[in-house]
Amino acid sequence: MKDGVNGVALAVFIFFFLAVTVMGFMAARWRKAENEHSLDEWGLGGRSFGTWITWFLLGGDLYTAYTFVAVPAAIYAAGAAGFFAVPYTILVYPLIFTFLPRLWSVSHRHGYVTTSDFVRGRFGSKGLSLAVALTGILATMPYIALQLVGIQAVLDVMGVGGGENTNWFIKDLPLLIAFGVLAAYTYSSGLRAPALIAFVKDTLIYIVIAVAIIYIPIKLGGFDDIFAKASEAYGQTNPATGAPRGALVPGDANQWTYATLALGSALALFMYPHSITATLSSKSREVIRRNTTILPLYSLMLGLLALLGFMAIAAGVKVQNGQLAIPQLFETMFPDWFAGVAFAAIGIGALVPAAIMSIAAANLFTRNIYKDFIKPDATPAQETKVSKLVSLLVKVGALVFVLTMDKTVAINFQLLGGIWILQTFPALVGGLFTRWCHRWALLAGWAVGMIYGTVAAWNVSSPTQKHFGGSSAEIPGIGEIGYIGLTAFVLNVAVTVVLTFVLRAAKAPDGIDETKPSDYTADAGDAGVQVELPPATAGSSH
């Protein structure tokens, strides 16, 4: 790391940061609707986004700064195992092709804003809906914290993060400023702000990747040299474990882990509230299907990005904290001004998802906790106000988390979040296709999955950590090492199916289903599907 502040890079970074800040505040006036005080308007951008905006929004949302830092960092640390992100994102699209359009349709017929809204309407169970909402909020918060960790990594490499000895206030000031800006424009512009900023973010990221993937290999002597050097580095024994650092290709023992991680993560991705928020804001069912055919462009980008991890090794980047590998590679290889552009791309890449995630968590709280349990007669204006405040609180919580706790805590919780969120799959996706599962069975399955997943993750130790050392453990009954989230999910489904048989035999009361079969296939323009729906909860009276 160069000593002191990298002035040129910092200037470029600040320039882009100011530009998106202005955009964020102006976004409130972009595609403005008549009724700006409804939650649909603030929280779903008026449900009016077409194919391209949805594409940018989803891309901005799913491929976060943390992804850009963490995926190459995993490759840098251990090689092949980190590349599972690519098959994972490949599998996501055929999956969402089959179920998301149904969710879009039923949500637009009934004015659902969150996944919990749907679960409550479908199964007539506030308990199940609360479980889904709490899981969503719990899983999202550490994710937001990780976005701030991403910004911190960039600031550190630019030299404005300060060393270990600087006063904590000076050290954290840049992060506090970035955070304040994010909070302010989310509060005033809602989902429109990240949608608009996502254009800048993706454009910057594409430019940086395109340059990095051509320029760096040329400087390093081509891919042959890069992989030869990486292979050599992975072969060296890690003194902490006594085993090689990693491998270029997963060995027999690691193939189960690789496959289950890819599948489990793919199933989990669209259970996250923020990906659903971005999906529901699109204006028609077709927008979603069309998007599954263009979203994989991001997967290609992710694959190229992952290769940067090898380049970091070949370029001789040596960092203790793997998260700094890629920012450090950029600073080493690029001229200062372009390093600034790259850092801006990562920094802005953190702001977009952080904004969408906090909006999604706030929607969940307002609709499924505040309105269902605290104040059933809340008006749309009150709902919006509560949502705005909660989105602020969620971000402050994430900030406190990052500033007061060790970074590994945020990473551990993010790992747990993935395991947890996957446990809402049977209620949500199952519910989209069949009403067979009993609501109490789903709740029991969810609880079993959550408990098993948490305990299993707690028991994983690594050379550096006693607990939460990783996301894989032995699969009971198979004996191979696999992703804990997927094992918990299988358990969850098994419990749900068995208990459904039992409860049906015992004639346990089934909840009321407010949806009709035709709700799941309705498209914009069909009867009962409006572009903008008022929040239609049972208690709302006008």
Partner: protein
């Protein structure tokens, strides 16, 4: 609506060859990607990139093409069904 366990989807769609093809297109990436043993090797390399890496990136393109094809087929299938339904004066649900 019925809650009988054997009712899979309220609008139980007839399985047609086109729909089977769509399902295969959507299912193929799962087989290819989860069968890690089929691609866990370094050779043949492509411009210096080991097989393991370029093969998976190639699958990004292949799965994109498959999903796009499934999308087009699905659109056609829906249109055909809609016109068939209006000619028959509505098919039973």
């Amino acid at each position: 609506m019925s809650n009988a366990p054997d009712v899979k989807s309220p609008e139980t769609p007839a399985v047609t060859p086109v729909r089977v093809v769509i399902a295969l297109f959507l299912f193929a990436p799962f087989v290819a990607m989860l069968w890690v043993g089929s691609y866990a090797k370094t050779d043949p390399a492509f411009i210096g990139i080991p097989f393991f890496y370029w093969y998976q990136m190639a699958w990004v393109l292949i799965s994109t093409a498959l999903t796009a094809a499934a999308y087009v087929l699905w659109q056609r299938d829906q249109r055909a069904r809609r016109s068939a339904r209006s000619e028959d004066g509505g098919v039973a649900q």
